[in-house]
């Protein structure tokens, strides 16, 4: 059953099973995105993700179907994150800072080490860059979709993706010859 079918069922008869299927489909990308945005605070990320889906349930009648459902959901998730970030200083902290490549040079032979290093490197990014990189490079959104989600100009998204990737490249210097598994 497509997302559109499920959404139609929810709207027509408040079908909770249909909505549960939508939650099951999108819980992983939404929770993973929010975990990145909260710099690894998975409890907070899950709280925000739960609130995201509750809001989606309440406002589903406003979803027009012009964008992908996931794009619409990410938009709600970003708003939830921004609301909390305004109240929590540690989330509002911007870029943590540059790290000298020597300090951060990893043992490039280990994939689990790569995961750790990538997670740490993402945490160091400016939140705008992190959001743009995670949405576009990890979740496959187009720049236009990311601009819609982040409610910012297309040029800002492109710049943030470019800058974010440049920083990651610098910080993950040891993986420059990385080959896919």
């Amino acid at each position: 059953m497509t997302d559109a079918d499920l959404i139609a069922r929810v709207l027509a008869r408040e079908d909770q099973n249909a909505f549960a299927e939508l939650v099951r489909r999108y819980q992983s990308p939404v929770r993973a995105f929010l975990a990145r945005m909260t710099r690894g605070d998975t409890h907070l990320a899950d709280d925000l993700a739960q609130e995201t889906f509750v809001k989606a349930w309440r406002k589903l009648h406003t979803y027009r179907g012009g964008a992908r459902f996931s794009t619409w959901l990410f938009g709600i998730a970003v708003n939830e994150f921004r609301t909390v970030a305004r109240q929590r200083k540690e989330l509002a902290l911007e870029e943590v800072g540059e790290v000298a490549p020597e300090e951060n040079r990893p043992a490039a032979d280990s994939r689990s080490q790569l995961r750790l290093d990538l997670t740490e490197a993402l945490k160091r990014l400016h939140s705008g860059e992190r959001a743009a990189v995670v949405l576009c490079c990890q979740n496959g959104l187009t720049h236009e979709e990311a601009a819609q989600v982040l409610d910012c100009p297309l040029g800002t998204v492109k710049t943030n993706v470019l800058r974010g990737k440049e920083k990651l490249k610098r910080w993950l210097f040891g993986y420059q010859d990385y080959e896919p598994a």
Binding site: Q16, R24, A49, R58, T119, V133, C137, Y178, P180
Partner: protein, 119 residues
């Protein structure tokens, strides 16, 4: 001939490290916390507009619209309140007009609120 473009290692890394997050009861928690959805979003603005319409009809029925005191608009513009109406009591002269203005404002407010309604 162009060489095939090498994949950006950072993008490859990001895609590969994007792991699936197991549900582990998340969906059940969301479903348990769902409020009743306002699926009929048009009901509340419709009630608001209906109430404004009924109020207007009642106001039209019970207020003495036919007996509105004449207003001398040139006096209004020149702020000569004494010459505004032939009635010596300014309050009783302006009250029907003020009431009519309030009813009109209520209808406009209700219409705007109904159009912009978003729960």
């Amino acid at each position: 001939m162009n060489q095939p473009e090498k994949a950006d290692p950072v993008e490859t890394m990001l895609r590969e490290q994007n792991q699936y997050v197991n549900d582990e009861g998340f969906t059940a928690r969301v479903m348990a916390g769902l409020p009743r959805r306002r699926s009929r979003a048009w009901v509340r603005p419709a009630v608001l507009l209906g109430a404004a319409a009924i109020g207007s009809v009642l106001a039209a029925r019970w207020l003495a619209w036919g007996n509105l005191p004449p207003l001398d608009l040139s006096a209004l513009v020149s702020l000569d309140f004494q010459a505004l109406t032939p009635t010596p009591d300014l309050t009783s002269a302006l009250m029907p007009w003020m009431t009519m203005l309030a009813v009109a404002a209520s209808i406009v407010w209700a219409a705007v609120a109904a159009v912009q309604w978003d729960d």
